[in-house]
Structure formats: structure tokens, C-alpha cells
């Protein structure tokens, strides 16, 4: 376990660098799937090797080696494993922090989703669409069984009939394709391994693009969708005086300070540009990173197994 064990800790950096360009260049549905799966695999692989490094550190303590059911020899472990004790301890501390953060985040997200589903069920009327009296131009989908779409009267007034259809098609796509689950999964992975944060930020963008493209398919005109998104954003900005979402909360949660244009102009620009096609090269690149990460983690696991075997052997021949 010399080299392979450290690689899965470095691969998330590669994925983080590639995330945003991939989000812009791949079709949004593919990008969402790819980045979500990548985040899960990379988070799992990096947690796994942290765990293995921690184990190799811990069996150096003779007491712990004795306590372990196989009665491993601490000396043998020290001889055959190059990872130092401090690396093992650091890995253990990182893994504990990651597991705790991920556990808390998972609990919190499940509770929020349950609260959202309860709200969706309690919204008035039998229809999917709920119109609320509010001058602020606001529209969102709230997941549930079934999910609901909330639109303010301010937003309805800002758009014409065809634009209402586009807005609804966009929000329906969010619900139909369970975009909140992609976002939840990728954010959870990013909590377990903060290096994956750019993947999570990109997926929150690509699900919007996915919904935009779905709306464009329903309406049959991408340009109209671009104009509707732009018009709605400008209307929302104008009505901000009556905001119903505290801007302080949005500052903390919704947006991470990032260089360059925000999501809305990027969505509009993407819709005005020709549709994206699958690009085999970047796709192959990220799949190669995932495969390498998996292989390295498996290799490291195999090494660890051998090491433990050796240590066991050493203990029985003492």
C-alpha cells in the first residue's frame, strides 16, 4: 500500500477542475447524471482509503492489535507498511469529521424533504399548480407526493400566456425528473469530501439547464424559453422590494461567490446558442478518472488485506 492508496484522495481535485467546463459543454441531462455519479464514487473511494490508512495507523498500537479479533502483530504491521503513524491518525481524524458532517447533513436534508412534502400536501386546492397572492415575482417547485408548483400573482402578471406554459413546463420537469434528489446526493458527497464542492455547485446549475431544455422540448422553441427565463429574472429583480425570501438566507445558501456571470445569464446564453451534443472525449476522461479511483481503492484494499494477513501470521508465530 504505497502509492495507490493516496491517489483516490487526489482524483477529486481533477474532477473539481473539470466540473464546471463539463457542466457547460455536455447536454444537461448527461452532465447531471455524470457529475452526480462521479461525486458519489469519488467520495466513497476517498472515504474508503482514509479508513484504510486509519486502520494501518491504528494496528501499530500493540494494545489495539491485541484487542483485534485476529490478534495482529504490531511489529509486523510497522515493518511492512510504509504509511506513517501520523498519516494514519490524520486519516482517522479526517474520516471521522467527514462521516459526522455527512451524517448531520443527511439527517437535515431528509427532514427538510419531509417538511417540504408535508407542505406540498397541505397547499390548498387539488391542482398541481398553486397560485399565491404576492406582488413579488416568484415561482418554484416543491417536492412531495405529488410535488406542487407555487407561482405568485406577481410572476403571473409579469409573463404572458405562452410564457406561463414555459414556466410550468420548466417546474414540471424539475418534479418529474426528481432534480431535488440529484442535488441532495451530490451535496451530500460534497459534505463528505469538500473537494467535491464544485461538482455540487455545477449540478445545481445543470438541473436548471435540464429543466430549461425540457421546457424547450415541450414548447418546441428554445429561443422563447430563453426570453421567458430572462423576463422572469428581470421581473423578480424589479419586485425585490416585496421579497418573500430573506435575502440574507439566500446569500448564505443559494449562491457561492463565484467569478463570472451568475446562473441566469448563463442559462439564457446556453438556450440562445445551438443545442449541445454528446462529446465523447470529456465523457471518457471523467469515466477514466472514476475507473482509476475505483481500481486504486480496490488495490489499496487488497494491500491492506495482505498486510493484515501478514500481521496475523506474525502474531501466531511469535
Amino acid at each position: 500500500m504505497r502509492f495507490a492508496v493516496y491517489l483516490p484522495l487526489l482524483f477529486p481535485l481533477l474532477a473539481a477542475l473539470a466540473a464546471r467546463p463539463l457542466g457547460e459543454r455536455l447536454p444537461p441531462r448527461l452532465a447531471t447524471w455524470l457529475l452526480t455519479v462521479a461525486a458519489v464514487v469519488l467520495a466513497a473511494a476517498s472515504s474508503l482509503v482514509l479508513g484504510m490508512l486509519a486502520i494501518t495507523g491504528l494496528i501499530r498500537f500493540p494494545l489495539l492489535a491485541e484487542l483485534a479479533h485476529g490478534r495482529w502483530s504490531a511489529q509486523v504491521a510497522q515493518h511492512h507498511d510504509p504509511a506513517s503513524l501520523s498519516v494514519g491518525l490524520l486519516a482517522g481524524a479526517l474520516l471521522t469529521a467527514a462521516a459526522t458532517a455527512a451524517g448531520v447533513a443527511l439527517w437535515r436534508r431528509v427532514r427538510t424533504l419531509v417538511a417540504a412534502a408535508a407542505e406540498a400536501a397541505c397547499l390548498p386546492g387539488p391542482d398541481e399548480l398553486v397560485v399565491v397572492e404576492d406582488p413579488a415575482a416568484e415561482a418554484y417547485a416543491i417536492p412531495g407526493l405529488p410535488g406542487r408548483i407555487v407561482v405568485s400573482t406577481g410572476m403571473l402578471e409579469a409573463l404572458d400566456a405562452n410564457e406561463h406554459k414555459i414556466l410550468l413546463a420548466h417546474e414540471r420537469a424539475h418534479l418529474a425528473h426528481h432534480h431535488y434528489l440529484f442535488v441532495a446526493v451530490v451535496q451530500l458527497a460534497a459534505t463528505a469530501n469538500p473537494l467535491l464542492r464544485p461538482l455540487a455547485d455545477t449540478v445545481t446549475y445543470t438541473v436548471e439547464r435540464w429543466a430549461d431544455e425540457s421546457a424547450a422540448t415541450v414548447i418546441g422553441d428554445r429561443r422563447q424559453v430563453a426570453h421567458t427565463v430572462g423576463k422572469a429574472a428581470l421581473a423578480a429583480k424589479r419586485a425585490r422590494a416585496h421579497t418573500w425570501i430573506p435575502t440574507a438566507a439566500l446569500g448564505i445558501l443559494g449562491r457561492f461567490s463565484q467569478a463570472g456571470p451568475g446562473p441566469v445569464p448563463r442559462r439564457v446564453a446556453a438556450l440562445l446558442a445551438p443545442p449541445l451534443r454528446n462529446r465523447p472525449l470529456p465523457l471518457a476522461g471523467i469515466l477514466a478518472v472514476l475507473a482509476a479511483s475505483t481500481v486504486c481503492a480496490a488495490e489499496a484494499a487488497h494491500d491492506l488485506e495482505l498486510l493484515l494477513e501478514l500481521a496475523k501470521h506474525g502474531a501466531s508465530h511469535r
Partner: protein, 127 residues
């Protein structure tokens, strides 16, 4: 007076839960206004008068109820129709959640000043 001492809600009912039940009772009675005593009778379950008054005052403070003087006590009605009330409640419940933004998918995000300029340019050239 002993009867007006605040008592803990019976049956492990959480504060928010009691408020929701009170609101529900008032909505069912609407448009008729209810006094705290009437709310207490409708809810049953061994609630004390003062617990009901506390819940009503809290809902009133949140702007969910309006009240008028009837005899010596206030009588309460929900402030809006169903949808207005639901919208307000929803804002309150989900606003408290730190990851609310990640669960609700908004049609458009907020624009910065730069974004707004860029967007106008895009829409102009895209005509």
C-alpha cells in the same frame, strides 16, 4: 389565579403542533370567530385555557389571525383565505430550514447588477 398559570402542553404536544391545531379549528369555524374558550372546547385533550390563549397570541403576533373584542375576551378568525394562509405558513416553515434553497427549485435565481446588464444585452441581441 391557578387556572391561568401556564401549564405544559399535555400529551407531549409540541408548540408548533398545537398552533397548527388551533389554526385548523379556527379555519373550520370560519367565518365565525372563536373565543379562546371555544377553541379549547373544540380541541379537547385536557388543554388549559392559558395554553390556548398563549397559542392564539403567538399566532396573532405572527400575523396569521385577526381578533375582535367579544364581551370581555377576544374572538379570533384566520386573517386570510386558505391559499393566503397556506402561503404564509409555508414561508414560515421552510424559511427556518437552512437547506431550503436546495430543496425548492426556483424558476429564476437572483440577479447581481452585472448579471442584469449581461442579461439585457443577451436578450437584445437574441431578438
Amino acid at each position: 389565579m391557578a387556572a391561568h398559570e401556564p401549564t405544559a402542553p399535555k400529551g407531549g404536544r409540541a408548540k408548533g403542533e398545537l398552533e397548527a391545531e388551533v389554526l385548523d379549528a379556527l379555519q373550520h369555524a370560519a367565518p365565525e370567530a372563536l373565543s379562546p374558550g371555544e377553541v379549547k372546547d373544540r380541541l379537547g385533550g385536557g388543554l388549559s385555557y392559558s395554553t390556548v390563549v398563549t397559542a392564539l397570541s403567538r399566532l396573532y403576533a405572527k400575523g396569521l389571525l385577526k381578533r375582535s373584542l367579544r364581551g370581555r375576551a377576544f374572538a379570533y378568525t384566520p386573517v386570510a383565505d386558505d391559499s393566503g394562509l397556506a402561503a404564509r405558513q409555508m414561508r414560515k416553515v421552510l424559511d427556518d430550514r437552512p437547506d431550503r434553497e436546495a430543496v425548492l427549485t426556483r424558476f429564476v435565481d437572483d440577479l447581481s447588477a452585472d448579471d442584469e446588464q449581461l442579461l439585457r444585452k443577451l436578450l437584445d441581441t437574441g431578438q
